[in-house]
């Protein structure tokens, strides 16, 4: 496999590239979904292909091909160089593109796996999902009971013209379930463990830990109860967010905002830009002093963990926010050079055909000193919101609105009445500045998000976010309440 990647790099260099790297990716995946006790889909996928980047002058080119031979890989490299040449022909002149230096390694890395997900019998997997949905449907008002699981393995061979020679095998596994209670005019859903499930780097041991069947009665009962619950009123109040919702909050309002390529304007036309100005790095107050956010691709078992990114940069931890001050960015070699930072090792492409680009790895809110129980007890009048239902944020990552599946009133330090359709809105730095309580310890969970979309054409990435419950003061809720 290295031979194919090497041929691609050689083809690019022969065609005039001054730098080239190539990934040969052989991926396989398996996914199952179950609806109301019936397996809806049982799919297995396999793909193999090569993706080559070529840098010619200050122009990038990328070419990808499925089912390569050595000759085709070489031709694909040459094509990448020709594409790079076209890149330089148009547009505003700039200083020559520089790639920040990184350690060149010859290495291997593999996700630690306890139980190979591809060897667990399919019948066992089907039985688990059927049992989970059967347990959900024991609640009569649950009309749709879904359960799903997936496992993906990415074998990558990376070669660069600088001498990188890296083989990796990365495994992502996870599962989830949800119950939808269908009312006359609306539907209500509860999910476990979080919206979309829970995923990580590892094997089937991750699925076993989720205890889908054991949690089904609670999930189903809450979904049904939501149909009768009063709607979340419009108010400005203190909000305690459950951990998986904090994870999404981090993803949308910190992770994306600190992507170096967004800050440089490279994603302006689609995903957007950022409210962050590079001149404010090290000075801007992002949130309260409790706020410490780190991008770390070395977190054991987290979904964004790997040994090396797709440029061959070793995985590392980068502080993004420290004591509430913005101190770092997510970067690759070219964006790091422009921003004057050390490359973060955060460049990933989807499969073999995705152009490698800056991505979140594990962007986590570091654990705090409190516990959820204490936070609730300390809250005189507020809301506890759990599990994401909808998310929307502006193109600068400032103005957001999130909806959750459920909320509970907090009165006099105790959880009270269930409320349906809770939403909350805010402006990113004001919201994070209002965080005054943060849990940690065993309540800090490395949540996995499987559907981060970015780029043109759109690519989907798997990202990790360690998070624990937290309280935010004076938050506007119920914006859609009438």
């Amino acid at each position: 496999m290295f031979d194919l990647a090497s041929a691609a790099v050689e083809g690019a260099l022969a065609a005039g590239a001054r730098y080239a790297d190539a990934r040969l990716v052989a991926a396989r995946g398996q996914s199952l979904s179950c609806l109301n006790g019936e397996i809806e889909a049982l799919d297995s996928g396999a793909e193999v292909g090569v993706g080559v980047r070529a840098l010619l002058g200050s122009g990038w080119g990328f070419a990808a091909l499925s089912e390569p031979t050595e000759a085709k890989a070489r031709a694909t490299g040459a094509r990448a160089a020709r594409i790079a040449a076209a890149s330089t022909a148009v547009g505003r002149a700039t200083a020559e593109l520089v790639l920040a230096p990184v350690e060149v390694r010859r290495a291997e890395w593999r996700t630690p796996v306890v139980e190979d997900p591809f060897t667990v019998p399919l019948s066992e997997k089907c039985d688990l999902l059927v049992a989970a949905t059967d347990a959900l449907r024991a609640e009569p008002r649950v009309g749709l009971a879904r359960a799903w699981m997936s496992a993906d393995e990415y074998a990558k061979w990376l070669v660069s013209s600088e001498g990188h020679h890296i083989a990796q095998v990365i495994v992502h596994t996870g599962a989830g379930m949800d119950a939808t209670a269908i009312g006359e005019t609306e539907t209500q859903r509860r999910s476990h463990p979080g919206a979309g499930g829970q995923y990580g780097s590892g094997g089937y041991e991750l699925v076993r830990r989720l205890d889908l069947v054991g949690n089904a009665p609670r999930v189903a009962a809450e979904a049904a109860a939501l149909l009768d619950a009063p709607p979340c009123p419009a108010a400005v109040t203190d909000v305690i967010l459950e951990g998986s919702q904090v994870a999404l909050q981090i993803h949308e309002s910190v992770g994306h905002a600190t992507e170096g390529d967004r800050i440089l304007g490279w994603e302006a036309a689609f995903a957007g830009t950022s409210f962050l100005d590079p001149t404010q790095l090290g000075r801007l107050r992002y949130g309260s002093e409790l706020m410490a956010v780190t991008a770390d691709a070395t977190v054991p078992g987290a979904l964004g963990t790997f040994g090396f990114d797709d440029e061959g940069t070793p995985a590392r931890a980068v502080d993004l926010v420290r004591d509430g001050i913005w101190v770092g960015v997510l970067s690759g070699r070219d964006s790091a050079a422009q921003l004057g930072v050390v490359p973060g090792g955060m460049v990933v492409g989807q499969g073999f055909s995705g152009l490698p680009m800056v991505r979140m790895t594990n962007v986590s809110l570091q654990p705090g000193p409190h516990r959820l129980e204490e936070i609730v007890a300390d809250t005189d009048d507020g809301l506890y919101l759990a599990t994401n239902r909808s998310w929307s944020i502006d193109d600068k990552r400032l103005n957001f609105q999130f909806g959750c599946e459920a909320a509970w009133e907090v009165k006099g330090g105790r959880l009270g009445r269930l409320l349906r359709n809770p939403t909350y809105t805010g402006i990113t730095p004001r919201f994070w500045a209002s965080m005054d309580r943060l849990a940690g310890g065993d309540e800090w969970v490395p949540w996995g998000i499987m559907n981060c979309g970015k780029g043109q054409p759109v690519q989907v990435a798997h990202t990790g976010h360690g998070a624990a419950p937290a309280r935010f003061r004076g938050v506007r809720v119920g914006a859609n309440a009438r």
Binding site: E38, A41, L42, D43, G45, A46, V48, G49, G51, W60, G61, F62, A63, A64, L65, S66, E67, R82, A84, A85, A86, S87, V90, G91, R92, T94, L122, S123, C126, V130, L144, T185, E186, T187, L264, G265, W266, E267, A268, A269, F275, S353, L355, R389, S390, S392, D394, D395, K396, N399, Q401, G403, N421, T425, G426, I427, Q456, P457, A479, N480
Partner: protein, 508 residues
Amino acid sequence: MSGIDAALEPDALAEVAEHALDALSARAPAGAGVVEAQVHVGGQRHALTRFANSRIHQNLESETVAVTLKVAVGGRVAAASTTRTDRDGLADLADRALSAAEVRPVDPHWPGVAGPTADSDDDTDDRSARDEARWDEARWDEAVAAATPAERAAAVAAFLAEGTAGQDGAGYCDTLAAAVAVATTGGRRARGRWTRSTVDGIFLTAPEGAHTPAGHGHRSSVRLADVTGAAGAAGATAARLGAASRGAVDLPPGEYPVVLMPECVAEVLAFLAGGFSAKAVQEGQSFAVPGAPLFDPALTFVDDATAPGAVGLGFDSEGTARRRVELILDGRCGGLLHDRRTAARAPLDGAAPSAVTSTSTSTGTPTGTSTGHGHLASDEWGPAPAALQLSPGPASPGAPQGDDPALVAGIERGVLVTCFNYCRVLDPKTVEVTGLTRNGTFWVVDGRVAHPVTNLRFTQSFVEALGPGRVEAVGGAARLADCEWGPGLVRTPALRLSAWRFTGGAAG
């Protein structure tokens, strides 16, 4: 399969499909029951030249072939896919599909694979070879397939040339050529190819506080010349709107009359189309009740892959010819989007065909018939739209594509919105959606744009927004417009609506 161009040759892909069926036949266990199979072979060449800060910063070409095999062994169904088209790869594909099917419980809703063309129990797809050739000519442009990085770069240059001082351009020009072959053990054979090209971009200027003035332009077509020839015009639109967006002020949240430009309407229609998927209806998660007058009578909304200028294939992943489906006709809910699975369960739709009235040649779909809206993941996610169209209103002479000044002229006090951003569903039954405006939002007074406003958040039921009495005017010119599901899916004019609920702004 050899050669990059073979990936775009339907005949070459059809040969791969036959080899896949042969591999399956050689491996199917004897005595296991009826073995049915459906093979989908898709080849694609996608090239995209992306620009930001007024220079090309990402530039790519990708060529892939993927084979998806769905098998049913005694009603036990499983699917497998691969990018390998060689003998060993197809053998592995068959092995994986068969071993998975072996352990899956019997699927009580398995509809079987499509039979031969013009099977009386299935849809009628009676296209002759001459029809296929005409279809191919309408959907395929060799220039797109052969487009070079230099041609895409030239389109980018034409777009950027329209920017004025202080404006930075960002966007892309892409060319997509694809071919598909479908084969089933029931004798269905379908093959075809299609192309699409797009130029899409914005011009931004320096931020004004939390607001960045920007404007958007877009052109999509089956044909390269339509796009490269219009790249400058798209850039001019983006530059004009971007310049007009400077000096934006905040607008208080509230309900206002709006003019929604085609990109906004495309977003609304794409979300609504999800409610017309038969799976959503059968699961009780849709607003759609065939015949119900939920929408303004001014609206006629169809999914019609056979219409002139539609992008994409004339058949779906199951080899079923795509039918015209009238989703909304004169304001009433019409037909639903079906694949073979949902069609087999169609009595659960809750309405007889006679409930749908139509003056068009297509009178809706008889119960139990696929409309050709299956895709490779439709078992789990349901049938999906293929080519959505909102019928335009009376023509406005001289109106630019999709832009209709007459719509703005009808607003006393309201908002002109050019694009939506990051829309997400809050409730699928009402299609209540939250999102934001982007790339140019303007306050209109007495029929004229008064000044730009900063981006607004909305929370609005799309069903309610297009309800009876709510559509004041339909633009006279329709064009392919971008939406969150990508370019080429929706052809629409602009709309003027009596009310749209903005729930927040830059201040939160």
